[in-house]
């Protein structure tokens, strides 16, 4: 074990928190360590201490580092069976609400947001829904607001969409231009994109459904519990929480406060 680099890593994370209020202190350590190692090579820094010096004195260097510390890996209709289950098991219950608020926590570059908006439009719910799409990375949020995705990826999303019970042609939702697909801007008319951290911020609205997928795996148990606490507080009575396919409430202090609706698809309901 390289003790010096472990110390340096802790100091870097602490410095980032003190200077920029981004809190990575309770992220899962192994992945953070790899991402910082990756950043070192890109920044051409010999040590984490050297990287820390640059980041402390140059806010633009920090914004660059933030792109390494967050993981913008996403897909539209990722895990199609998950979205099919939302359509079949959750939508009929959502339809009983006169108005709906949905929080997509850790929305990254927006793939989950557009997927949800398309599903809601096809179910006739988008007009009476407000979606809060939040992330800690401003660059990701900007990309999400634009709704422009590479056409190559969109081909893969088309298959996902169809398996997820899509009712139209996926191409109806975007205009192709060169190598990009520009998504219909009316999909985001009721979407509010906002900077929000599950590590440091609090609840901002009551919601009926929260989707937080492939975000919690990057948190340690303590931070996961903080996030689950926020979700529990934000959700209305019997509100829905949906997670990524490998994420679970099983090891959480909140496991008793939620019950599985479709366990296999990680769809839970507030008890």
């Amino acid at each position: 074990m390289d003790k010096s680099s472990d110390i340096e890593l802790r100091l870097l994370i602490e410095a980032i928190y003190l200077k920029y209020s981004y809190d990575f202190r309770d992220y899962s350590g192994a992945s953070v360590k790899r991402r910082v190692a990756h950043a070192l090579r890109q920044f051409d820094c010999a040590t984490i201490s050297a990287l820390q010096e640059r980041v402390l004195h140059d806010p633009s260097a920090f914004m660059q580092l933030l792109q390494f510390l967050t993981i913008p890996v996403s897909e539209m209709f990722r895990d199609p069976s998950h979205f099919l289950a939302i359509r079949q098991e959750v939508v009929p219950l959502l339809k009983t609400y006169p108005s709906i608020k949905i929080w997509i926590a850790g929305c990254s570059t927006g793939e989950e947001v557009y997927s949800m908006a398309i599903l809601l439009r096809e179910e006739g719910l988008l007009e009476r829904t407000i979606i809060y799409a939040t992330d800690i990375n401003p660059a990701s949020l900007d990309k999400a607001k634009q709704g422009i995705f590479s056409l190559e990826n969109v081909r893969a999303y088309t298959a996902n969409y169809q398996q997820a019970g899509g009712q139209c042609s996926f191409a109806d939702y975007y205009t192709a231009a060169y190598d990009y697909a520009i998504f219909d801007k009316t999909l985001r008319e009721n979407v509010t994109f906002a900077d929000h951290s599950l590590a440091t911020d609090s609840v901002f609205s009551e919601t009926q459904l929260i989707s937080c997928r492939n975000v919690l795996i990057y948190f340690n148990k303590k931070l996961q519990d903080r996030a689950f606490g926020l979700f529990h507080e934000s959700l209305c009575h019997r509100g829905f929480l949906v997670l990524g396919s490998k994420e679970t409430l099983d090891f959480s202090a909140y496991s008793k406060q939620f019950e599985p609706l479709v366990k296999q698809e990680r769809i839970y309901r507030k008890s």
Partner: protein, 199 residues
């Protein structure tokens, strides 16, 4: 080369194993000899074509005497259990000896990556780690194995002459000299001997 079976390694707390092409048969061979009461945790990455749902844990559970599970995020590692990395996610060992999943970029076109499992387990277990790299058609695992060695752990590479695809063992040998180069039969005996060796 030491005769590992004659000199059981002491102080091992956990075992990590990586394999790619030809790996199912190789893993069945080395784990098949383990008794029900085998006392150490084993964590394995086996590259497979991307599928949404892996049957690995089920397949191995039917054929082995030890409990077999697909690794779950934030699960505490239990002794005597074989954990497989599921498809599409990297698997790491955290300092508190729990498992964690992540979706960083692929390594050598692979996710899960053997390098990530080995390096994180080396950070967590230090000298208490035994890492074994088997047959495979790419270079994943070589760097991770070298990291295990640097962290004081014990490294084993399958004899390339025996490996169904020798690329992975040869890549490891090009990067560092492992403690042992062994056939599958001898790796199995080595694992079985760990169980009985006093710590």
């Amino acid at each position: 080369m030491n005769d590992a079976a004659a000199n059981p390694i002491r102080g091992i707390e956990a075992i990590v194993v990586g394999a790619s092409a030809g790996g199912v048969e190789a893993l069945l061979s080395i784990f098949g000899v383990l008794p029900t009461d085998f006392g150490l945790p084993i964590i394995a990455v086996l590259h497979l074509p991307d599928e949404r749902r892996s049957q690995l844990a089920e397949v191995f559970a039917r054929r082995l005497r030890i409990p077999v599970k697909e690794a779950r995020d934030k699960e505490l590692i239990e002794a005597g259990t074989l954990y497989f990395a599921g498809p599409g996610y990297h698997l790491s060992v955290e300092q508190d000896l729990s498992l964690s999943l992540s979706q960083e970029d692929r390594v050598h076109h692979s996710r899960p990556a053997i390098d990530y499992l080995f390096a994180s387990a080396a950070d967590a277990y230090g000298a208490g780690l035994l890492a074994i790299l088997l047959t495979g058609a790419n270079q994943d695992g070589a760097r991770g194995l070298a990291h295990v060695k640097q962290s004081g752990g014990t490294t084993v590479v399958q004899d390339p002459a025996e490996a169904r695809i020798a690329v992975m063992p040869l890549a490891a040998l090009a990067l560092h000299t492992p403690d042992h180069i062994l056939t599958l039969g001898r790796i199995g005996s080595l694992l079985a001997s760990l169980e009985s060796s006093p710590c």
